[in-house]
Symmetry: D2
Subunit: 462 residues, 4 copies
Amino acid sequence: MPPRNVINARVSPKGSLETLSHREVQQLSEAGSDSLYKLFRQCALAILNTGSHIDNAKTVMDAFLDFDVRIHQQDRGVYLELLNAPADAFVDGEMITSTREMLFSALRDIVYTENELQSRRIDLSDSQGITDYVFHLLRNARTLRPDVEPKIVVCWGGHSVSGEEYKYSKTVGHELGLRKLDICTGCGPGVMKGPMKGATISHAKQRLTGSRYLGLTEPGIIAAEAPNPIVNELVILPDIEKRLEAFVRVGHGIIVFPGGVGTAEEFLYLLGILLHPNNRDIPFPVILTGPKSAAPYIEQLHAFVGATLGQAAQRLYQVIIDDPVQVATQMARGLKEVKQFRRERNDAYHFNWLLKIDESFQRPFDPNHANMASLQLSRDLPPHELASNLRRAFSGIVAGNVKDKGIRLIEQHGCYEIHGEAAVMRPLDQLLQSFVAQNRMKLPGGVAYEPCYRMVSSELAC
Amino acid sequence: MPPRNVINARVSPKGSLETLSHREVQQLSEAGSDSLYKLFRQCALAILNTGSHIDNAKTVMDAFLDFDVRIHQQDRGVYLELLNAPADAFVDGEMITSTREMLFSALRDIVYTENELQSRRIDLSDSQGITDYVFHLLRNARTLRPDVEPKIVVCWGGHSVSGEEYKYSKTVGHELGLRKLDICTGCGPGVMKGPMKGATISHAKQRLTGSRYLGLTEPGIIAAEAPNPIVNELVILPDIEKRLEAFVRVGHGIIVFPGGVGTAEEFLYLLGILLHPNNRDIPFPVILTGPKSAAPYIEQLHAFVGATLGQAAQRLYQVIIDDPVQVATQMARGLKEVKQFRRERNDAYHFNWLLKIDESFQRPFDPNHANMASLQLSRDLPPHELASNLRRAFSGIVAGNVKDKGIRLIEQHGCYEIHGEAAVMRPLDQLLQSFVAQNRMKLPGGVAYEPCYRMVSSELAC
Amino acid sequence: MPPRNVINARVSPKGSLETLSHREVQQLSEAGSDSLYKLFRQCALAILNTGSHIDNAKTVMDAFLDFDVRIHQQDRGVYLELLNAPADAFVDGEMITSTREMLFSALRDIVYTENELQSRRIDLSDSQGITDYVFHLLRNARTLRPDVEPKIVVCWGGHSVSGEEYKYSKTVGHELGLRKLDICTGCGPGVMKGPMKGATISHAKQRLTGSRYLGLTEPGIIAAEAPNPIVNELVILPDIEKRLEAFVRVGHGIIVFPGGVGTAEEFLYLLGILLHPNNRDIPFPVILTGPKSAAPYIEQLHAFVGATLGQAAQRLYQVIIDDPVQVATQMARGLKEVKQFRRERNDAYHFNWLLKIDESFQRPFDPNHANMASLQLSRDLPPHELASNLRRAFSGIVAGNVKDKGIRLIEQHGCYEIHGEAAVMRPLDQLLQSFVAQNRMKLPGGVAYEPCYRMVSSELAC
Amino acid sequence: MPPRNVINARVSPKGSLETLSHREVQQLSEAGSDSLYKLFRQCALAILNTGSHIDNAKTVMDAFLDFDVRIHQQDRGVYLELLNAPADAFVDGEMITSTREMLFSALRDIVYTENELQSRRIDLSDSQGITDYVFHLLRNARTLRPDVEPKIVVCWGGHSVSGEEYKYSKTVGHELGLRKLDICTGCGPGVMKGPMKGATISHAKQRLTGSRYLGLTEPGIIAAEAPNPIVNELVILPDIEKRLEAFVRVGHGIIVFPGGVGTAEEFLYLLGILLHPNNRDIPFPVILTGPKSAAPYIEQLHAFVGATLGQAAQRLYQVIIDDPVQVATQMARGLKEVKQFRRERNDAYHFNWLLKIDESFQRPFDPNHANMASLQLSRDLPPHELASNLRRAFSGIVAGNVKDKGIRLIEQHGCYEIHGEAAVMRPLDQLLQSFVAQNRMKLPGGVAYEPCYRMVSSELAC
C-alpha cells in the first residue's frame, strides 16, 4: 500500500447545535483501549476516508495507524483536532462541509448511545424496550420529524456493483427525486450512493431545499462502507440489528437493487418481518429492481424466495426490470397507501410503531462458529422464522467476508459450517454460488474470493 | 371568584421538533396523583393562564378545577386535548402561537427531567453532578447554542411592581435591544415582562430575527408567575436551585430591578456565588437599577448588602438610578469583558463552566419551620456563607407568601422563626419592613399583608 | 433651537438588493438646486430625524442646514456618506438598521420615480396611466406580493394625538396583530406608530416572522412626519394623490382613528371613491374608531358626513367606540369578504384593480389661493364629487398649516378663502372649529393655532 | 418526426415575486404576428422542450405547431395556460419546478425589455447607453447582487460534444463547486449543462444553499439550446451582443471548453475585448481546457490565436489539458486577484464597469451576405479589431448553421463569401475544416454537414 497523503487540522461544528458537557468531553478523550475514544476514532477515520475505495475494514484501519483525533472544549463550543487525517477529506486545506458534519454526527451518536445505555429507563431485555431504544437514538439524531408526509425511500443494494447497475440506481434516484421523495441508504459507495446522486440533481430541478439523504450505519460496517458525502443525515446505530430496525421503522418504502450477501441479508430481514402474521395488513411498498443486465440476478433471488419462503413471500414485493419511471411511480403510489393507513390508525408518520418486529430480529446475532452451525434452516418452520434464520446465515457470511471480528474468527477456526434441510440448502447454495459467479462476493484486497462458509450437506470447499 | 370563560381545543406542536415515544405518552397520560400527568397539568394551566393577573398558586389552581389536558399520539406527531382551558389563551378560537409553543416546551422538559432522573449517569450527590444535570436539561431544551457571542442579559425584579417601575424596565429593555442583546427573565408579568417588551420593539427596529426571550421557571412558581407570551424559549427546571444555577450559568450579565423578597433572594444568591474566593477573577456584570421613584428602595438594598456582607460585596455590582442608556451601555461593556475572558480561558460562551457554585447553593432548601429556625445568620461566617443563609431566609419567606406548600405549612404551624446576630437581624428586619411599607410583599387575594415569619430577637408580631 | 448632536458616518445597504448604475449614481450626486440630489437629501434627513418630535417641515430642515449626504459606488455596491447627521439615528455609533433600510428605500424610490417619468410608456394624461404608474412604483418597491391573502390594514389618524388616543391605537394594533394582520400607515408618530407598535408585540406572541409594517409617504410630508423605525417597508410616492391611491389599492381595509384635518382629508378621499357608482359592490371594510374620550370627535365627524354627503356615505363605514377587540374582529370579518370577492372576480389580492378612482381624485390639487377660492361646495353635486371637493379643501388647509410651500403662500397672500353653500359650509366650519377646540390643528413651533383659511359666508378671522 | 406527447396545464409562479399590470398582461396576450406574444410563445416552447435533443430551431418550432400559451390575471397573481405543451416538462402531470420558474423568468424579461425600450432614458446610440441597458436588464432579473464575493465562473463550450468532453466538463464543475464557485453558461445541453451538474453535486457536499446556476440566453438561440433544468437563474437578453456583454460583465472568470464555431465566436469576442489597450491591467482569468482526447482541438485553437492575433493574445489565457483540479485551483486563484483589484478600484463585484467594450462588439452584427463579404480580415488591423471581425465571421457561420433567419438566407442566396488576407484566411480555413473533421459543426437533422460559407481566396465548395 502506497503512503497516503495526510493532513493536520482543527474543525468545529459550524452551524451545528451540538454541545458537550465537560464530563462527556472527558469520556471521549480517555484513550484507553475499551473507551469511547477508540470507537470514535474508528468512525472518524471511516468518515474521513470517503474518497477511498477500500472496503475492507482492517485495511482502512491499517492505512492510517498514526491517525489521531482529539476533542477540545473552547469558548464557542467543542472542536476536534485531527492528526494525520486522510487528505482526500479536504479541498485546498479546508474540510468538505458534509464530512465535517458527519464527524460531529458521529460524536453525537456515540456520546448519546453511551448515555442511554447507562439509563435505567432503557430495558433491552424486552422487544418494546429495544424499539424504544432505537426511537431514542433516532430522536436524538433529529431524524424523527413530525408533520412531514411519508416520503423516505430506503434503497438497499451492493456498495460494489457494476457500472451499469450503479448508473441504473442513479436513474431510479433521479426519478424518485423528481417525485420529491427522499433517499435513505446504508452509507457507502455503489447503490448506497447512486440514488442519492440522482436525487440530488432532480431535487435541484424541483428547487427543493431541505431534501434528506439519510445514511444509517453502525460501527462494525462504517469502516468498510464510508458514508458518501451526499449523506446529509448520518446516524450511527450501535449494531446491525438496531440499524435494520431503524431502516424499517423510519423508511416508508424500500427498493432492493442488485447486491451481494449483505443485500440478501437485508431483504430476508425485511421479508421475515413482513411475513409476521401481525403485519399482514400494514402497507409497506417493496420493489426488487435492476437494469436489464441484472435480470438473471433478480430472477434468481426471486426464485430463491419462492423456493424457501413461498409465494406469500413473493407477493410482498414487486419485481420491475429496467424501468426507473415505473419504479418511482409504483413507489409513490405505495407511499400514498402508507400515508392513508397511518392517518387512519393515528400511527406516526415518522416512526412505524405498528410494525411488529419479533425479538429474534432484534437480538444481535453473534456469528461465531457454534451459532452458525446451530441455525435451523427448514421449511417446517413458519416462514417468518425461516426468514429470520436465513437472515442470520447471510449475516454470518457478511461478517466472515468483511468484518474485522469475523475475518479473525475465520482465520482462527476455518470456515463456518451451515446445516439444514436440502430443500433450503440447495437453493441457498445455488444463490451463493451465483453471487460468486457474478462477482458479487466481497474480494478483500482484490484477491480471488474464498468462501468463509461450508454447506454441510453439499460439500463446498472452504 | 367569577366564573371564567373556558374553551375546549386540540393543539399540535406546529413546526416544533418534539416527538414522544409510546412509553412517554403513556407515562404522561396516567392520571395517578403522583404522576407526571399532575405536574404537566399544573404547568399547562399556568401557561394557559397568561392573561390572568392572579399570582397566588392556590387561587389559580382552584379557578380551573375542571381543567384537563390529555396527550394523544397521531400520524403527524403528538397532540394535546384541552378541556375547560382558560379562554384568554385563544384568539378567535385559535390558541396564541407562543402559548402553544410553551405547552410543548413544558411537555419536553417534564418528560426529559423524568428520564434524566432515571439515568445512572446523573449523580446528584455531588456538586459537579448537579451542574451536569442542569447542563443536560438546558441542552435538551436547546438553550445552549454554541458559536453565539455572549449577549444574554438576565433581568431580575418584581413581577408586581409600580407602573413607573414597569415602564422603566421596558425602557431599559428597549436600550438593551437596540444594542442587540437578548433578555432572560424568570417568567411572569412585571419586571419579568417589561424588558422583553421593550426589547421586542427595538429588536424590530434593528431588524433582528431570532432574538431570544428566555424564560426560566420551575413547577413551584410557574402557577404564580405564568410565563408572559413574549417568552420564546421556556425552560422548566425541576426546582428553584436548578433554576438559579441556570440563570447564572446561561446568563452573561444580570440586571436587578426593584422587586420584593423573591428579588432579594435572587440577589443574595448571586452575591453569595460571586463572593466565593474561586470566582474572584471571573467577570460578571451586575447592575442594580430603577427609576428615580425607586431610589429609596435601591439605596436600602445597597445599604443592607453593605451592613451584612460588607463593601467587597458592594463592589460586585454597579448602582445606576434612572438612566436606561447608561445601564445598557455598561452592560454591553461588561459583556465584552465576559467574551474576552471566556475566549482566553476557552470556556464555553453558552455555559459558564468556570463559575464555582458551592453545594450549599445547589441543594434545595426545604423551608420548614425547623430549617428556618436553625439558619445561621452571623457576620462571623465567611461572607459567601452568610449570603447563602440569607438567601435561604428569603427563600423561606417567599414560600410562605406564595407557594402552595409554604402557605399550607404556615396555616398549620404559624409563622417561621428566624434567629440571628443583631447586626444581621436588624438590617434584615428593616429591609423586610420597608418592603411591606413600599407594598412590595405579596398580597394574596388583595388582603393586607400578613408576615409569615418572626425575627426572634426583634419581637415582630406574626 | 438648541444645537443638535450630529455624527458623520458611512452606511451601506446590508442585505439589501439595491444596485445602481453609474448613471444613476451620477444623477443623484449632482448637487444642482433642482436635482434629485436635493430631493434625496430632504428625504434622508427626515428619515434620520426619527427621534425628533418636530413636525414642521421648515423647522426640521433648518435645524440641520449643514447636513449632507453623498453617494459612492464601491466594490460591494453603493454606500452613503453622511455628514452632520442627527445623532439620534445611531446607537453607539452604529446606525439603527431600520433607519439604514429606509435610507436605501428612499434612494430606490427616488431613482425609480425619475426613471419612470422618463419613460414613454407612462401616460399620466389618463386615469389608467396614472394607476399603472402607481402600480409600477409599488412593484419596484416590492410592495406587491402575489400569493398572499388580503391582510393589509391601513390605519389613518393624527400623528399628534392625546396619550389616550395613542394608547388606544396601540391596543387596536395589538388585537389586529393577534389576528395576524399587517399594518400600513402614512409614517410618522402618533396613530401612524401606535398600531405598528401594538402589532409588533402581538406578532411576536404569534411567532410571526415577515410581518409587514408598511409606511407610505411622499416628499412633501416626510419631513413633517418622519417614518417611525418600526416601518419595515417604506415607499416614497411622488405626491399626495399617488400616495392616497397607493393606500386604497394596496390596503384591504381601513381604520380611521382620531386625527386632524389631514385625517379628515383622507377620510373624505376614501368616501368619495367608495361613493362612486362603479364601486358600489366592491367590499371595502372601513371602521371609524377611538377611545371613549374621543367619542365627541368621532360623533362630530360622523355627523358632518351625514350632513354633507348623506346617509349612503355613513353606511360605508362602521363606528366603534372604545372596543379594540370588536374593531379587530370586524376588520378580520371584512377582509374575508374582500378575499372572497377578489377570488370570484379574479382580481389580484395585491392590488385593487377593480376600484374605480375618478381622475379628479388622481390629479394633484395645487392649493393656491385661486384654486381654493373656486372649489364648488354644494349639495347639488353628486356625493362623490362633493366629497372630492371637500377633500381638496382639507388638503389645502393641511398645506397651509404644515407644508413648506403652503406656509410660504399664506405668508405672502394671507388666508385662503373658501366659498360654498351654507348647508355645507356650516358643518364644515363647525368641524374645523371643533378641531381647533380639541387641539387637533397643527401648532407649528408650539404657538397658538392661527387658521390659514376663511369661510366666506361665515366671517372667520384669518 | 413522430407525434410528440403533449399536455394541457395551468401554472402559476409559486414563490416568485413577479406581478404584472393589466396593461402588461394585455400586451402579452395580443396574438398579432409582431407581438410580444409571439416572442414569449417561442421562448416558452424552448423552455418546455428541455427534454428534447433537437437543436435546430425550425425543427423544434415545427414539432409543436399547435402549442399555445395564454396569460391570465387572477386573485393570487398571474397564471399561464398552456395548450399542447411538451409532456417531458411534467412529472406525473405536474410541471417541474425549474421549468415553471424559467417560464416566468422569460415573461419577466420579455416584458421588461419591451418597457425599457420605450424609455427615453435608454440611449442605444452610444456605448455607455448600451452598457446601461444591459445593466438594467440584469438588475431587473435580480442577477446583480451586491455584497457577494466574485465567484461566477462562466463556462463556454459546445452544446453537442463527445461523451468524454461532457464528462470532463462535469468533473471540472465538481471541482469548481467544491471550491464554492458558481456556474454561468449559455443554457442548453453539453458543456452548458455538465459543469452545472458537477457543481450541483459538490455544492450539496459543501452543504451550500443558494448556489447559482446562471443561464444567459437570447430569443434567437433559446429554441436551439433549451435551458437545462439545473439553471436556477435564467435571463433572456434581447440579442447575442447583449448576451455576450452580460457574460463578461457578470462573470468573474471564464473557462473555454471544446465546442464548435459558436464557442470560437465567444472566445474571439473575449480576446477582442481583453486585447483592447484600456483593458490591459484588468485581471480576468481565462482558461482553455479539455480532456486528453480534445488536446488536438485545443492546440489548434491555440495555434489559430497565435497565427492571427499573436502571442499577446495567447498570454491572456492559460491552456490546461486534462486536469480538473488544476483548472479549479487556477480559477480560484484568478478570482482572488479579481476581488483584490475591484476592491482597490472600488469597482462593483457584481458588474464589471471598468471593462472597456468597444462599440464594434456591442452592435448587433447582421449576418447577411453583404456584411459577411465586407468583413476586413487582415493582420494589419490592431489585434482587437481583427478579433472583432473574426468574431463576426464566426457569428455569421453560426447563424447560417442553426438560426432560423440565417438558414433561410442561405437557402435563398447560397453560401456566404468571406474575403481576407491569406495569413488570416489560411488558419481560419484550417480551423473550420478541422471542426468539420472533428464533427464539431452543427448537423441539422443529422444529415452530413454542408458548409454555409466560402473562403474566397481558398476555393472551398459551398
